[in-house]
């Protein structure tokens, strides 16, 4: 962040010495303080900024000011400025938000605003916050964020918005509730009296009443027009005739008057005005550089004193700007009259900014000068700092403005560009850019290669970045291979990348490790995959990429489930959520996916209410809290939940919806929608559709087996069993059993206990259908033994009646009797021989803590007193007590100390 420039955005314009007092508007503004929002909405040149500045000086409340510009369309940048403005009220505002904003993956805008609102509500004094030039931002999020801010605005703060067009806010609602006061064009126009006072006092012109009236009529009270008219008249020999001509002319006031004004200036002032019109901020030395003159500071001061539409941006009179409208007209004159100078002027500005260490402005002017070589140089040099400041969006915009031909000779830019393209899913150009970069790597080999590359036109400005390229290129290649489904290539590239990337370069190493994990996952080596993900997670977390770490936790948990380790999966999810909380944003990207995953576990445990709650929670968070496949996975999980609740049609609808949402990503799709649909069809007794699926997928009992198709093959076995129920042909049963036997072997070899449990369940059912009850019980017993420690329920219950019959026999024969009875109870079989229930999940809470309860729990572990905690969380003491009581209940604790101890045991703290 460039501090001097930042300060200019926060500067509150001081009232001009000769400003026209406007008591009627000041009064309106004062009354507006009773509401939440004052909207000052009018076209350019109606004196919005001046009026608000004048009012603030006397309104009796401190004020914060933020002048917005196009750059604030970037939410992160906006928030940094917003916090900085708040800090002019109270130093300590937003300290933690600033830290969060500067991290690799900043929390959502809403989270930051909530943090700030909490601090504001604890502030002892009332203040005013002005957002000037609000129309500069057209990004959609701004309206949402400001509406959110207004909804929760504490009485301490009053917001003023000055804008050229109505903001995208629920103005009707605000108006109806009396929260909004408005000053619009009709209010802001100078009345004849104000116009007279302005011309007389502010501009020092003594005019007759008729002359004043004529000017007021011609300008319709438009202040910029009157000011410019007054400037034109200064030193005019024949004021009456000027007014006559002006009043009788139809031309756009600005055209007419700027010409008038420019004509009366010396050549050097005229040239200064025109040339510096390319700048959005004026600063003496910068103006000197651009205008090719000297004494820029003195000139700016002179212009300000002469009412020349020059607005100071700080107390020390170091930075100014032209009134926007005036600048626009000047710029038009420059372009129309001296088109050949424009590029040269931008170039001068670019050089000055570069020499003064302001890269973004240097690049902006260089692009405006259409000097692409220079721009490419500047961008390449800025890569490390831009990466640190997370300014990738601006960066990508700049690179895309450059001709590809030029980028191709710059390996560092090429690779950076490729990475950005890969992240954006634009695969076709990735390989091209990587190849472009690669042909220059010979320069790394030896002096000879270097000479060769340089003589072929290679340009490298940042040697350090250049040396990183071989590693980065290989990582990107591995990523590309994975998207294209080439597992072997992923492993090759990722391994090579780990050799190439130095130990301390966390992010690319973490990426390569995770890619290896994904490749192992695809080929069914779950243990290796889990190890890789865990290692990658640690690395990306250390590098500050928390969302990526959460995504890693997600993958680990899914793998745990396949391995039949539900508890471990749940703990992994909880750790993932914890990462987000520690990072200061419980809705960090990836957390929504975690809630979906947790709901899957709860569904398996047959806690359908908890499963539904978690799904609703993730939906509430919204798609931005999830990775691209979030909505797809959500539909799948909701469908399985509906199925468990007995709503097969609802389940099917959700699967159809999921199908439309599917977009390939890096994760393995362990349960393809088509197979899930087939299982539903079997349940609905629609065998025809199921057989169609078998045919369409080309599935057969003789297939070679692999993990990626395991779910489909188990589904095939189920189709065969369903067929047997209809045709009673031994063949389909035998085929199913043979396939299941092979599947079991594979699953066992791969350590996929989760798969084994299901396969054995289906085997038991098949044997039962065959009439071979001893064999059925044997398989069931094996399955129960594997499933009991983890508390599986749905895998058995979903089989319905046949399973209930088998379980009853099992229980009576003493096969896992307690567990079998529990499952029978879940199946609705009343159990007369109820034994004391074993606690199914000693290490896991049956009723999980709500997010708020987690918040409270974290404070319970501190030294803070109850009232202090309540204050921190902005809840009443009573609410806090309720939360605390719930926490004790859920943790089965009787005291704060015990609760904390239990929480630590359970890994909740």
């Amino acid at each position: 962040m460039n501090m001097p420039l930042l300060a200019t955005k926060l500067y509150i314009p001081l009232p001009r010495t000769h400003v026209v007092r406007r008591p009627r508007l000041i009064e309106q503004l004062n009354e507006g303080l009773n509401g939440k929002l004052t909207l000052v909405s009018a076209s350019a040149g109606f004196g919005k900024t001046t009026l608000i500045g004048d009012w603030i000086a006397g309104c009796g409340r401190p004020a914060a000011w933020l002048s917005l510009d196009k750059g604030d369309n970037d939410a992160n940048r906006f928030l940094v400025h917003f916090v900085a403005a708040l800090q002019t009220i109270e130093d300590s505002f937003g300290r933690s938000s600033v830290n969060a904003l500067q991290s690799q993956q900043p929390p959502s805008t809403e989270t930051i605003l909530t943090m700030l609102l909490n601090e504001i509500s604890a502030h002892p004094h009332k203040f005013v916050f002005v957002l000037d030039d609000y129309h500069q931002i057209d990004a959609e999020w701004l309206g949402d964020s400001i509406a959110f801010l207004l909804d929760h605005l504490p009485a301490q703060m009053h917001l003023v918005i000055a804008t050229r067009e109505n903001p995208q806010l629920p103005l009707g609602r605000l108006r109806a509730r009396g929260h909004l006061s408005e000053l619009r064009e009709a209010d802001l126009r100078f009345t004849p009296g104000e116009a007279a006072a302005f011309l007389d006092q502010a501009m020092g012109l003594s005019l007759t009443a008729d002359e004043t009236n004529a000017l007021e009529t011609r300008t319709e009270g438009w202040i910029a027009g009157l000011q410019l008219a007054a400037l034109s008249m200064k030193g005019h020999k024949d004021i009456p005739s000027f007014i006559r001509e002006f009043a009788g002319d139809n031309r756009y006031i600005m055209d007419y008057l700027v010409e008038e004004v420019l004509q009366r200036q010396s050549e050097s002032i005229r040239s200064f005005l025109l040339r510096t019109s390319i700048l959005d901020r004026l600063h003496g030395p910068l103006c000197d550089a651009v205008a090719g003159q000297e004494e820029g500071n003195a000139r700016l001061e002179l212009l300000e004193r002469g009412n020349f539409f020059v607005v100071p941006l700080d107390d020390k009179r170091r930075w100014y700007r032209y009134h926007h409208l005036f600048a626009e007209v000047l710029h038009m004159h420059l372009k129309a009259d001296h088109p050949d100078q424009v590029a040269m002027l931008h170039l001068r500005a670019s050089v000055w900014y570069e020499q003064n260490g302001m890269a973004a402005d240097a690049i902006r002017h260089s692009l405006a000068a259409e000097d692409y070589v220079r721009t490419a140089d500047l961008v390449e040099q800025a890569i490390p700092s831009l990466r640190r400041n997370r300014d990738e969006i601006a960066m990508l915009g700049w690179i895309q403005a450059l001709p590809v031909e030029l980028i191709r000779f710059r390996p560092v830019l090429c690779v950076w560009y490729a990475g950005a393209l890969l992240a954006g899913g634009r695969l076709e150009a990735v390989e091209d850019r990587l190849r472009d970069a690669e042909r220059w790597l010979l320069a790394l080999a030896d002096q000879n290669g270097r000479q060769q590359a340089l003589s072929a036109g290679m340009i490298v400005l940042d040697e350090e970045e250049f040396r990183r390229l071989p590693g980065l290129i290989t990582v990107y290649r591995a990523g590309l291979a994975l998207v294209l489904g080439n597992v072997q290539a992923v492993q090759q590239y990722a391994r090579k990348a780990l050799e190439l990337v130095p130990e301390e370069d966390g992010l690319p190493r973490g990426a390569a490790t995770a890619l290896l994990g994904l490749a192992s996952w695809r080929s069914g080596d779950l243990e290796e995959a889990r190890r890789m993900f865990a290692e990658g997670l640690t690395r990306v977390k250390q590098a500050g990429a928390v969302s990526d770490a959460i995504n890693g936790a997600n993958a680990i948990a899914v793998i745990c489930m396949a391995q039949g380790r539900l508890r471990e999966a749940m703990r992994t999810y909880e750790r993932g959520l914890q990462l987000a909380v520690e990072h200061g944003d419980p809705n960090l990207r990836g957390t929504a996916d975690i809630y979906v995953g947790m709901s899957e576990i709860y569904r398996e445990l047959n806690d359908l209410r908890a499963a539904e709650r978690h799904l609703l929670k993730s939906k509430e968070q919204g798609a931005h809290a999830g990775f691209p496949q979030f909505r797809y996975r959500w539909c799948i999980s909701m469908s399985r939940l509906r199925e468990a609740q007995g709503d097969l049609n609802g389940a099917l609808d959700l699967l159809l919806e999921a199908e439309n949402l599917f977009a390939s990503d890096f994760f393995l799709d362990v349960r393809p929608t088509a197979a899930l649909k087939t299982r539903l069809r079997i349940l609905q007794g629609r065998l025809g559709g199921a057989l169609d699926w078998v045919r369409d997928q080309g599935l057969s009992v003789q297939d070679d087996l692999c993990y990626a198709r395991e779910f489909e093959h188990v589904t095939l076995a189920r189709v065969l069993l369903a067929q047997n129920k209809i045709d009673h042909a031994d063949r389909s049963l035998r085929d199913a059993l043979e396939l299941l036997g092979r599947l079991l072997q594979e699953a066992e070899a791969g350590g996929r206990i989760g798969s084994m449990i299901e396969i054995q369940v289906v085997q038991a059912i098949a044997h039962h259908m065959q009439g071979d009850t001893p064999a059925a019980l044997r398989q069931l017993e094996r399955s129960l033994t594997l499933a009991e420690p983890e508390g599986y329920v749905r895998t058995f219950v979903d089989e319905g009646q046949p399973m209930a019959n088998l379980l009853e026999i099992a229980a009576n024969q003493g096969i896992a009797p307690a567990y079998a009875r529990r499952l029978l109870a879940a199946l609705g079989r009343v159990d007369t021989l109820r034994e004391p229930r074993t606690k199914p999940f000693k290490k896991l809470l049956l009723e999980p803590l709500s997010e708020r309860e987690r918040d409270v729990l974290r404070f319970l572990a501190t030294d803070l007193s109850g009232p202090d905690i309540a204050r921190e969380l902005i809840i009443s003491l009573n609410t806090l007590r309720t939360h605390t009581k719930n926490i004790y209940d859920k943790l089965e604790a009787n005291s704060r100390r015990e609760a904390v101890r239990r929480a630590i045991e359970l890994g909740l703290l």
Binding site: S43, A224, N250, R251, Y252, D255, L325, A336
Partner: protein, 79 residues
């Protein structure tokens, strides 16, 4: 409805528009309003006329009008 949508679809590319402003805007502004011709009415208005690629371009142009503080009288899509 669908018919109207259809015709809008066809004309989306390069529909001709006339933007009428209050006040005579110097033709030197034509660089700002690229591709638009300037003509002046006796009633003191300026008409910018020309083909506009799509709605985004139209709104961009209206925004420029806004930034000049020029009163907008009418925007008409010509057949």
């Amino acid at each position: 409805m669908s018919e109207r949508n259809g015709s809008a679809e066809d004309q989306r590319e390069h529909a001709r528009y006339e933007i009428r402003l209050k006040g005579h805007l110097d033709s030197r502004w034509s660089g700002w309003f690229e591709g638009m011709s300037f003509s002046y009415g006796n009633d003191g208005t300026t008409v910018l006329a020309g083909r506009i690629v799509d709605q985004a371009e139209l709104f961009g142009m209206l925004r420029k009008v806004r930034d000049l503080g020029l009163p907008l009288v009418s925007v008409i899509q010509m057949e």
